[in-house]
């Protein structure tokens, strides 16, 4: 939990680290290795409340891995990562780190929504079942209340008549919109998108981006790993270009996309734009 503001612009976390008050996500020198392969080589990033940050870069650059580190689906090898002033996955006491229990990590994650490239809807549950599962099971919201809220969310993502359908009866675009509604049902303060449109047929990309654009307008803090440069330019507040496990360049989308400083950025953008 974020403690009281010390002086303007800075908050002190439970373990005594001072973080910028307006930052929802703070990554400090984040490293991640899979065996000998170092995928993240020291990521420093801050996402402000209400900010939409788009992360772009070639495949294998570590952008998805970074996103998965944010909600602790991947354990960091080194560095620290805070969300909402909470150190993810650990408790720091007298200079020592203690791993959190499964249920404590689950509690941290329940405040962070995530949307996956392959949707990952639960195929044995209806659309409604998918959306109310976590609120009912984790947050203990009464079923009737959760159902009502789920119907509002379905309305919001443009699928009011699909509540009783099973995921396999929906198109990819519809499934992804349900996945977004499912994540929103937990009323998260942060939404992570891991290439949400990469598995979609081209004509279905727009409907998902529309929902995300709407969400951004509503003030949601979002980190979006994407290849949709048009979306990044139009909706993103900031753009981060990653390559080979490091942040090569970041800034406003307009700056990075039209006037890339680094030659790796230039090379990448010349291929995708």
């Amino acid at each position: 939990m974020a403690d009281q503001t010390k002086d303007h612009g800075v908050v002190e976390t439970a373990e005594g680290t001072e973080l910028p008050a307006d930052a929802l996500v703070v990554a400090e020198n984040v490293h991640k290795s899979f065996g000998r392969l170092e995928v993240l080589k020291g990521i420093d990033l801050q996402v402000k409340r209400g900010e939409v940050m788009c992360v772009v870069g070639p495949s294998g650059s570590g952008k998805s891995t970074f996103l998965r580190c944010v909600n602790h689906l991947e354990k960091l090898t080194a560095g620290r990562l805070w969300v909402n002033g909470e150190l993810m996955g650990y408790r720091q006491k007298r200079g020592r780190l203690y791993e959190l229990r499964d249920t404590e990590i689950a509690a941290q994650r329940s405040d962070i929504g995530m949307v996956f490239q392959r949707f990952n809807l639960f195929p044995h549950l209806t659309v409604l079942g998918n959306i109310i599962e976590a609120p009912v099971q984790v947050k203990k919201v009464p079923r009737a209340e959760a159902t009502e809220r789920a119907r509002e969310l379905l309305e919001r993502v443009g699928l009011p008549d699909k509540a009783d359908a099973y995921p396999e009866q929906l198109s990819g675009g519809q499934q992804q919109r349900v996945a977004i509604a499912r994540a929103l049902a937990m009323e998260p303060s942060l939404m992570l998108f891991d290439e949400p449109t990469s598995a979609l047929d081209p004509e279905l990309v727009g409907e998902v981006l529309d929902v995300m654009r709407d969400l951004a307008r509503g003030g949601m803090t979002m980190v979006v790993v994407t290849h949709e440069m048009g979306f990044a330019r139009e909706v993103g507040d900031s753009l981060v270009f990653m390559d080979d496990g490091v942040v090569v360049e970041s800034g406003t989308p307009a700056d990075v996309l039209t006037n890339p400083q680094h030659e790796r950025t230039q090379a990448f953008l010349s291929k995708v734009l």
Binding site: N71, L73, D102, T103, A106, A107, Q108, R109, S110, D111, I112, G113, M114, F116, R118, N120, L121, F122, P123, H124, E133, A134, Q137, V138, A165, Y166, E168, Q169, L170, S171, G173, Q174, A179, R182, A183, M186, L192, E203, L204, G206, E207, D210
Partner: protein, 312 residues
């Protein structure tokens, strides 16, 4: 069809259907002829060989002890499968838990109970009272540490006579259940592993704990993979209840049929009666299995909707 501005699609030209002389297969007729003759010989033997003694068989295969034996067979099948499935779930979850102690225990269990024949297990459990004539519930190794601490007496709270607890039926049922647990563990493990990893990740991202993910997300999806082989296991178990005759469980179907045969020197008719009974029950189970599998293999849970309909 046909976008804006395009002409009417060209209609296909008509053509005469192909008429050709089909290939003949004379060897099929020869094979069918041979098999027909063999079948006729077999049926003729069924009716003429006196060893079958059909009237005796029909008189005895529905007698009270035999019907009670059928009931015992059915109850033993159901009970051992229920215990076996529960054990299997526990063992499979242990095996996949990542906890080295639980993984090893689960592996050792499966190794032992899959490695020893069921018949041997059944006889072994029938004689377990040799090992423990009484079963005590209390603190372990009390005969060592109580004197060492200078205490009198024992730390046993109550005891059961193993010869009453582990009667033939209980012992046999235990052998079959424990053995089944090992096979079901492998089946359920395969089922759990067949569930896409993305399912667990999505549930984790929603803030669900590991045990809740197992109960609500992974296990229900594993059922599709687990159900068909479990049907096979049930049918196999029904047949394996015949092994209870060697525990011995005297009220069991095969034991009863054999007993009638031995007493009346009509062994063969009663063996045929056993075949007919097991065939009859397994046939019923196979019909049940067919419907259960059809239900679980169904991919579309309703009318598959047009995929195109969802585009913006």
């Amino acid at each position: 069809m046909g976008g804006p501005g395009s002409k009417e699609p060209t209609p296909g030209r008509s053509a005469a259907p192909i008429t050709a002389v089909p290939v003949r297969y004379p060897e099929r007729w020869v094979a069918a002829g041979i098999i027909l003759v063999l079948a006729a010989m077999f049926v003729h033997m069924l009716f003429t060989n006196p060893a079958f003694n059909w009237p005796f068989m029909f008189d005895n295969m529905f007698s009270d002890p035999v019907l009670r034996g059928v009931w015992v067979t059915l109850s033993a099948t159901v009970l051992s499968m229920v215990i076996g499935v529960l054990l299997g779930v526990i063992l499979a979850v242990m095996r996949l838990s990542g906890n080295p102690v639980l993984v090893t225990v689960s592996w050792l269990y499966t190794w032992f109970f899959r490695g020893v024949p069921r018949l041997v297990l059944a006889v072994l459990f029938g004689n377990i009272a040799i090992l423990y004539s009484t079963i005590h519930i209390g603190l372990p190794f009390d005969n060592y540490w109580m004197p060492w601490l200078g205490l009198e007496g024992d730390a046993r709270f109550f005891e059961i006579d193993a010869r009453t607890l582990l009667t033939g039926y209980t012992a046999g049922l235990l052998a079959l259940s424990l053995s089944e647990g090992a096979y079901m563990a492998e089946i359920i493990r395969a089922g759990l592993q067949s569930v896409d990893k993305g399912q667990t990740e999505a549930a984790q991202a929603l803030g669900m704990s590991r045990s809740r993910i197992m109960r609500r997300i992974t296990l229900p999806q594993a059922m599709r993979v687990v159900i068909p082989p479990t049907g096979n296991e049930t049918i196999a178990m029904l047949k394996d209840t015949a092994l209870l005759a060697y525990v011995p469980v005297t009220i069991e179907l095969f034991y009863q049929l054999q007993a009638i045969g031995t007493r009346s020197y009509q062994i063969f008719p009663m063996l045929v009666a056993a075949c007919l009974w097991y065939l009859a029950i397994t046939s019923v189970l196979m019909v049940g299995q067919y419907f259960i599998e059809r239900r679980f293999n169904r991919s579309g849970r309703g009318v598959r909707q047009s995929i195109v309909g969802g585009a913006h």
